[in-house]
Amino acid sequence: MVTYEMYVEFKERISLVKLLSTFKKLKWIVDLNDKYFEMVIYKNKKERYEFVRKWPHLSEDDKKKRHLKKLKKEEKSLKKLIQGLPLKERKEIWNIWWDYEMGKTQEARFVRQTDRAEGLIEAFDCWKRDKNFPTKPWWQHAD
Protein backbone atom coordinates (compact mmCIF):
# COMPACT_ATOMS: atom_id res chain seq x y z
CA MET A 1 0.00 0.00 0.00
CA VAL A 2 1.38 3.37 -0.98
CA THR A 3 0.71 5.75 1.89
CA TYR A 4 0.84 9.51 2.32
CA GLU A 5 3.91 9.05 4.56
CA MET A 6 5.71 7.31 1.74
CA TYR A 7 4.80 10.20 -0.48
CA VAL A 8 6.27 12.66 2.00
CA GLU A 9 9.42 10.56 2.24
CA PHE A 10 9.92 10.55 -1.48
CA LYS A 11 8.41 13.90 -2.28
CA GLU A 12 11.78 15.18 -3.39
CA ARG A 13 11.87 12.67 -6.14
CA ILE A 14 8.33 12.08 -7.26
CA SER A 15 5.43 14.28 -8.01
CA LEU A 16 1.98 13.76 -6.57
CA VAL A 17 0.65 13.01 -10.02
CA LYS A 18 3.12 10.17 -10.41
CA LEU A 19 2.20 8.81 -7.00
CA LEU A 20 -1.47 8.83 -7.79
CA SER A 21 -0.75 7.07 -11.00
CA THR A 22 1.26 4.38 -9.19
CA PHE A 23 -1.48 4.00 -6.63
CA LYS A 24 -4.04 3.51 -9.35
CA LYS A 25 -1.92 0.88 -11.02
CA LEU A 26 -1.44 -0.93 -7.69
CA LYS A 27 -5.16 -0.95 -7.23
CA TRP A 28 -5.31 -2.61 -10.60
CA ILE A 29 -3.08 -5.44 -9.63
CA VAL A 30 -4.95 -6.02 -6.39
CA ASP A 31 -8.43 -5.66 -7.78
CA LEU A 32 -8.35 -7.89 -10.82
CA ASN A 33 -12.11 -8.23 -10.73
CA ASP A 34 -12.63 -4.73 -11.92
CA LYS A 35 -9.71 -4.76 -14.29
CA TYR A 36 -11.64 -4.54 -17.46
CA PHE A 37 -14.04 -1.90 -16.29
CA GLU A 38 -11.54 0.54 -14.90
CA MET A 39 -9.65 1.26 -18.06
CA VAL A 40 -10.67 4.88 -17.74
CA ILE A 41 -7.98 5.27 -15.11
CA TYR A 42 -5.43 5.05 -17.88
CA LYS A 43 -4.99 8.70 -18.60
CA ASN A 44 -2.14 7.86 -20.87
CA LYS A 45 -3.60 7.35 -24.31
CA LYS A 46 -0.93 4.91 -25.42
CA GLU A 47 -1.41 2.68 -22.36
CA ARG A 48 -5.16 2.73 -22.84
CA TYR A 49 -4.73 1.97 -26.54
CA GLU A 50 -2.66 -1.10 -25.74
CA PHE A 51 -4.93 -2.22 -22.94
CA VAL A 52 -8.19 -2.32 -24.90
CA ARG A 53 -6.55 -4.40 -27.58
CA LYS A 54 -6.63 -7.63 -25.65
CA TRP A 55 -9.14 -9.61 -23.64
CA PRO A 56 -7.83 -10.04 -20.09
CA HIS A 57 -6.73 -13.62 -19.52
CA LEU A 58 -7.23 -14.56 -15.90
CA SER A 59 -6.45 -17.68 -13.94
CA GLU A 60 -9.34 -20.02 -13.14
CA ASP A 61 -9.27 -18.81 -9.55
CA ASP A 62 -9.44 -15.17 -10.55
CA LYS A 63 -12.22 -15.93 -12.99
CA LYS A 64 -14.22 -17.62 -10.25
CA LYS A 65 -13.64 -14.74 -7.85
CA ARG A 66 -14.56 -12.22 -10.49
CA HIS A 67 -17.71 -14.12 -11.43
CA LEU A 68 -18.81 -14.43 -7.81
CA LYS A 69 -18.29 -10.74 -7.16
CA LYS A 70 -20.25 -9.80 -10.27
CA LEU A 71 -23.02 -12.23 -9.38
CA LYS A 72 -23.39 -10.82 -5.86
CA LYS A 73 -23.43 -7.26 -7.12
CA GLU A 74 -26.02 -7.99 -9.79
CA GLU A 75 -28.13 -10.10 -7.44
CA LYS A 76 -28.32 -7.20 -5.00
CA SER A 77 -29.11 -4.80 -7.80
CA LEU A 78 -31.87 -6.98 -9.25
CA LYS A 79 -33.45 -7.50 -5.83
CA LYS A 80 -33.57 -3.74 -5.34
CA LEU A 81 -35.09 -3.21 -8.78
CA ILE A 82 -37.90 -5.74 -8.49
CA GLN A 83 -38.70 -5.44 -4.78
CA GLY A 84 -41.86 -3.40 -5.37
CA LEU A 85 -43.34 -5.75 -7.96
CA PRO A 86 -46.13 -8.22 -7.25
CA LEU A 87 -44.88 -11.61 -6.04
CA LYS A 88 -45.72 -13.42 -9.28
CA GLU A 89 -43.70 -11.06 -11.49
CA ARG A 90 -40.89 -10.87 -8.94
CA LYS A 91 -40.58 -14.65 -8.87
CA GLU A 92 -40.71 -14.95 -12.64
CA ILE A 93 -38.01 -12.35 -13.25
CA TRP A 94 -35.83 -13.75 -10.52
CA ASN A 95 -36.11 -17.30 -11.84
CA ILE A 96 -35.39 -16.23 -15.42
CA TRP A 97 -32.35 -14.24 -14.35
CA TRP A 98 -31.05 -17.05 -12.16
CA ASP A 99 -31.56 -19.47 -15.01
CA TYR A 100 -29.56 -17.17 -17.29
CA GLU A 101 -26.74 -16.74 -14.77
CA MET A 102 -26.49 -20.43 -13.94
CA GLY A 103 -27.22 -21.72 -17.44
CA LYS A 104 -29.80 -24.11 -16.06
CA THR A 105 -31.91 -24.56 -19.18
CA GLN A 106 -31.21 -24.82 -22.89
CA GLU A 107 -32.80 -21.41 -23.43
CA ALA A 108 -30.56 -19.76 -20.88
CA ARG A 109 -27.44 -21.32 -22.30
CA PHE A 110 -28.49 -20.25 -25.79
CA VAL A 111 -29.20 -16.65 -24.75
CA ARG A 112 -25.89 -16.49 -22.91
CA GLN A 113 -24.07 -17.32 -26.09
CA THR A 114 -26.18 -15.06 -28.30
CA ASP A 115 -25.43 -12.28 -25.81
CA ARG A 116 -21.73 -12.74 -26.56
CA ALA A 117 -22.42 -12.89 -30.28
CA GLU A 118 -24.35 -9.61 -30.07
CA GLY A 119 -21.34 -7.99 -28.41
CA LEU A 120 -19.12 -9.26 -31.19
CA ILE A 121 -21.46 -7.91 -33.90
CA GLU A 122 -21.54 -4.52 -32.17
CA ALA A 123 -17.74 -4.50 -31.94
CA PHE A 124 -17.54 -5.38 -35.60
CA ASP A 125 -19.96 -2.56 -36.51
CA CYS A 126 -17.86 -0.13 -34.45
CA TRP A 127 -14.80 -1.31 -36.37
CA LYS A 128 -16.62 -0.68 -39.68
CA ARG A 129 -17.14 2.92 -38.59
CA ASP A 130 -13.68 3.33 -37.09
CA LYS A 131 -10.93 1.07 -38.38
CA ASN A 132 -8.90 1.70 -35.24
CA PHE A 133 -11.52 0.07 -33.07
CA PRO A 134 -10.07 -3.11 -31.53
CA THR A 135 -12.24 -6.18 -32.19
CA LYS A 136 -9.68 -8.69 -30.93
CA PRO A 137 -10.96 -8.79 -27.32
CA TRP A 138 -14.43 -9.74 -28.54
CA TRP A 139 -13.06 -12.47 -30.76
CA GLN A 140 -11.05 -13.79 -27.84
CA HIS A 141 -14.07 -13.55 -25.54
CA ALA A 142 -16.35 -15.33 -28.02
CA ASP A 143 -13.71 -18.00 -28.47
Partner: protein
Protein backbone atom coordinates in the same frame (compact mmCIF):
# COMPACT_ATOMS: atom_id res chain seq x y z
CA UNK B 1 -26.18 -17.07 -41.85
CA UNK B 2 -24.45 -14.12 -43.53
CA UNK B 3 -27.89 -12.69 -44.34
CA UNK B 4 -28.89 -12.95 -40.70
CA UNK B 5 -25.70 -11.15 -39.73
CA UNK B 6 -26.45 -8.28 -42.12
CA UNK B 7 -29.95 -8.05 -40.66
CA UNK B 8 -28.61 -7.87 -37.09
CA UNK B 9 -26.13 -5.17 -38.11
CA UNK B 10 -28.89 -3.10 -39.68
CA UNK B 11 -31.26 -3.55 -36.73
CA UNK B 12 -28.38 -2.61 -34.40
CA UNK B 13 -28.46 0.88 -35.88
CA UNK B 14 -31.64 1.47 -33.85
CA UNK B 15 -29.38 1.64 -30.80
CA UNK B 16 -28.02 4.90 -32.17
CA UNK B 17 -31.08 6.56 -33.72
CA UNK B 18 -32.62 9.12 -31.39
CA UNK B 19 -36.41 9.36 -31.21
CA UNK B 20 -37.45 12.32 -33.27
CA UNK B 21 -40.15 13.67 -30.95
CA UNK B 22 -37.53 14.40 -28.28
CA UNK B 23 -35.08 15.83 -30.79
CA UNK B 24 -37.73 18.29 -31.98
CA UNK B 25 -38.30 19.31 -28.38
CA UNK B 26 -34.60 19.93 -27.84
CA UNK B 27 -34.05 17.14 -25.30
CA UNK B 28 -30.32 16.53 -24.98
CA UNK B 29 -29.18 12.94 -25.56
CA UNK B 30 -32.71 11.60 -25.86
CA UNK B 31 -33.65 7.94 -25.80
CA UNK B 32 -32.99 5.93 -28.93
CA UNK B 33 -35.50 3.77 -30.79
CA UNK B 34 -33.93 0.60 -29.32
CA UNK B 35 -34.19 2.02 -25.80
CA UNK B 36 -37.85 2.78 -26.32
CA UNK B 37 -38.42 -0.72 -27.71
CA UNK B 38 -36.76 -2.32 -24.70
CA UNK B 39 -39.00 -0.67 -22.14
CA UNK B 40 -42.13 -0.92 -24.28
CA UNK B 41 -41.55 -4.69 -24.42
CA UNK B 42 -41.17 -5.05 -20.66
CA UNK B 43 -44.15 -2.79 -20.02
CA UNK B 44 -46.33 -4.74 -22.46
CA UNK B 45 -45.25 -8.04 -20.92
CA UNK B 46 -46.10 -7.10 -17.32
CA UNK B 47 -49.30 -5.21 -18.07
CA UNK B 48 -50.29 -7.81 -20.65
CA UNK B 49 -50.20 -10.47 -17.92
CA UNK B 50 -52.99 -8.57 -16.19
CA UNK B 51 -55.30 -8.94 -19.16
CA UNK B 52 -56.73 -12.42 -19.54
CA UNK B 53 -56.16 -14.40 -22.71
CA UNK B 54 -53.24 -12.52 -24.25
CA UNK B 55 -50.46 -14.54 -25.85
CA UNK B 56 -47.42 -13.00 -24.15
CA UNK B 57 -44.91 -14.55 -26.54
CA UNK B 58 -46.69 -12.97 -29.48
CA UNK B 59 -47.01 -9.67 -27.61
CA UNK B 60 -43.26 -9.64 -26.96
CA UNK B 61 -42.47 -10.44 -30.57
CA UNK B 62 -44.71 -7.59 -31.72
CA UNK B 63 -42.95 -5.30 -29.25
CA UNK B 64 -39.52 -6.30 -30.52
CA UNK B 65 -40.26 -5.73 -34.18
CA UNK B 66 -42.77 -2.85 -34.09
CA UNK B 67 -40.22 -0.14 -34.86
CA UNK B 68 -37.51 -2.01 -36.79
CA UNK B 69 -38.64 -0.47 -40.09
CA UNK B 70 -37.40 2.88 -38.72
CA UNK B 71 -33.84 1.84 -39.59
CA UNK B 72 -34.70 2.97 -43.13
CA UNK B 73 -38.00 4.87 -42.75
CA UNK B 74 -36.80 7.04 -39.88
CA UNK B 75 -38.92 7.97 -36.89
CA UNK B 76 -42.19 9.65 -37.82
CA UNK B 77 -44.09 12.05 -35.58
CA UNK B 78 -47.64 13.37 -35.92
CA UNK B 79 -46.13 16.83 -36.46
CA UNK B 80 -44.08 15.97 -39.54
CA UNK B 81 -46.46 17.39 -42.16
CA UNK B 82 -46.81 20.75 -40.38
CA UNK B 83 -43.29 21.39 -39.05
CA UNK B 84 -42.35 25.08 -39.24
CA UNK B 85 -38.76 26.12 -39.92
CA UNK B 86 -38.96 28.95 -37.42
CA UNK B 87 -37.69 27.75 -34.00
CA UNK B 88 -40.16 29.84 -32.02
CA UNK B 89 -43.09 28.51 -33.96
CA UNK B 90 -41.74 24.98 -33.58
CA UNK B 91 -41.59 25.41 -29.82
CA UNK B 92 -45.20 26.61 -29.80
CA UNK B 93 -46.31 23.74 -32.00
CA UNK B 94 -44.70 21.25 -29.64
CA UNK B 95 -46.97 22.45 -26.85
CA UNK B 96 -50.00 21.18 -28.73
CA UNK B 97 -51.28 17.86 -29.98
CA UNK B 98 -51.82 18.31 -33.73
CA UNK B 99 -55.45 18.14 -34.84
CA UNK B 100 -56.35 16.95 -38.30
CA UNK B 101 -59.61 16.24 -40.06
CA UNK B 102 -60.49 12.57 -40.48
CA UNK B 103 -59.56 12.74 -44.17
CA UNK B 104 -56.17 14.27 -43.36
CA UNK B 105 -55.54 11.69 -40.64
CA UNK B 106 -56.28 8.92 -43.09
CA UNK B 107 -53.97 10.39 -45.71
CA UNK B 108 -51.09 10.91 -43.26
CA UNK B 109 -51.50 7.42 -41.80
CA UNK B 110 -51.58 5.86 -45.25
CA UNK B 111 -48.43 7.67 -46.37
CA UNK B 112 -46.64 6.63 -43.16
CA UNK B 113 -47.75 3.01 -43.51
CA UNK B 114 -46.59 2.83 -47.13
CA UNK B 115 -43.19 4.32 -46.33
CA UNK B 116 -42.71 2.02 -43.35
CA UNK B 117 -43.90 -1.07 -45.16
CA UNK B 118 -41.42 -0.43 -47.98
CA UNK B 119 -38.66 0.05 -45.38
CA UNK B 120 -39.63 -3.15 -43.59
CA UNK B 121 -39.70 -5.13 -46.84
CA UNK B 122 -36.22 -3.86 -47.66
CA UNK B 123 -34.94 -4.77 -44.19
CA UNK B 124 -36.31 -8.32 -44.08
CA UNK B 125 -35.93 -9.06 -47.78
CA UNK B 126 -33.00 -11.46 -47.34
CA UNK B 127 -34.26 -13.31 -44.30
CA UNK B 128 -35.46 -16.93 -44.57
CA UNK B 129 -38.99 -17.10 -45.91
CA UNK B 130 -40.77 -18.25 -42.74
CA UNK B 131 -39.04 -15.64 -40.58
CA UNK B 132 -39.79 -12.93 -43.13
CA UNK B 133 -43.45 -13.93 -43.17
CA UNK B 134 -43.66 -13.99 -39.40
CA UNK B 135 -42.15 -10.53 -39.00
CA UNK B 136 -44.38 -9.06 -41.69
CA UNK B 137 -47.50 -10.58 -40.13
CA UNK B 138 -46.60 -9.33 -36.67
CA UNK B 139 -45.92 -5.86 -38.00
CA UNK B 140 -49.22 -5.76 -39.91
CA UNK B 141 -50.97 -6.98 -36.78
CA UNK B 142 -49.49 -4.05 -34.85
CA UNK B 143 -50.21 -1.53 -37.58
CA UNK B 144 -53.78 -2.60 -38.25
CA UNK B 145 -54.70 -3.96 -34.83
CA UNK B 146 -55.66 -7.33 -36.25
CA UNK B 147 -55.50 -9.36 -33.02
CA UNK B 148 -55.93 -8.59 -29.29
CA UNK B 149 -52.10 -8.66 -28.95
CA UNK B 150 -51.62 -6.14 -31.80
CA UNK B 151 -54.26 -3.82 -30.38
CA UNK B 152 -52.91 -4.12 -26.84
CA UNK B 153 -49.37 -3.39 -27.88
CA UNK B 154 -50.37 -0.35 -29.96
CA UNK B 155 -51.70 1.19 -26.77
CA UNK B 156 -48.86 -0.07 -24.56
CA UNK B 157 -46.43 1.58 -26.97
CA UNK B 158 -48.19 4.91 -26.42
CA UNK B 159 -48.05 4.40 -22.66
CA UNK B 160 -44.28 3.94 -22.79
CA UNK B 161 -44.03 7.17 -24.73
CA UNK B 162 -46.30 8.89 -22.20
CA UNK B 163 -44.19 7.66 -19.29
CA UNK B 164 -41.02 8.87 -21.00
CA UNK B 165 -42.62 12.27 -21.61
CA UNK B 166 -43.41 12.67 -17.92
CA UNK B 167 -39.90 11.56 -16.97
CA UNK B 168 -38.44 14.20 -19.28
CA UNK B 169 -40.96 16.70 -17.94
CA UNK B 170 -39.68 16.01 -14.44
CA UNK B 171 -36.04 16.22 -15.51
CA UNK B 172 -36.31 19.18 -17.87
CA UNK B 173 -38.92 21.48 -16.40
CA UNK B 174 -40.66 23.29 -19.18
CA UNK B 175 -41.47 20.34 -21.40
CA UNK B 176 -45.21 20.61 -22.00
CA UNK B 177 -47.30 17.66 -20.84
CA UNK B 178 -50.52 18.60 -22.57
CA UNK B 179 -49.91 16.85 -25.92
CA UNK B 180 -49.36 13.50 -24.19
CA UNK B 181 -52.41 13.81 -21.99
CA UNK B 182 -54.49 14.63 -25.06
CA UNK B 183 -52.94 11.71 -26.91
CA UNK B 184 -53.61 9.10 -24.22
CA UNK B 185 -57.13 10.42 -23.69
CA UNK B 186 -57.76 9.95 -27.37
CA UNK B 187 -56.06 6.59 -27.93
CA UNK B 188 -56.21 4.51 -24.75
CA UNK B 189 -59.32 2.51 -23.92
CA UNK B 190 -57.76 -0.65 -22.49
CA UNK B 191 -58.88 -0.87 -18.80
CA UNK B 192 -55.51 -2.21 -17.57
CA UNK B 193 -53.69 0.64 -19.28
CA UNK B 194 -56.15 3.28 -18.05
CA UNK B 195 -55.49 2.03 -14.52
CA UNK B 196 -51.77 2.31 -15.21
CA UNK B 197 -52.15 5.91 -16.46
CA UNK B 198 -53.78 6.74 -13.14
CA UNK B 199 -50.76 5.25 -11.38
CA UNK B 200 -48.41 7.36 -13.52
CA UNK B 201 -50.47 10.42 -12.72
CA UNK B 202 -50.24 9.72 -8.99
CA UNK B 203 -46.47 9.26 -9.17
CA UNK B 204 -45.75 12.45 -11.06
CA UNK B 205 -48.39 14.74 -9.63
CA UNK B 206 -48.63 13.67 -6.03
CA UNK B 207 -47.75 17.13 -4.79
CA UNK B 208 -50.05 19.01 -7.11
CA UNK B 209 -53.41 19.85 -5.60
CA UNK B 210 -56.36 20.04 -7.97
CA UNK B 211 -57.55 23.51 -8.83
CA UNK B 212 -60.88 24.39 -7.20
Amino acid sequence: MSKLLSFFSEVGKLKRIARKGWVLRGIKEPETIAEHTFRAAILAWFLGEKKKGLNIEKLLKIALIHDICEVYAGDTTPYDSILPKDKKKLKELMKTWPRFSDAEKKKIAEAKRKKEEAALDKLINNLPKDLKQEIKNLWLDYEKGLTPEGRFFKQADRIENFLQALEYWKKHKGLPQKPWWLQVRELIDEPVLIEFIEEINKKFHKNIKPRV
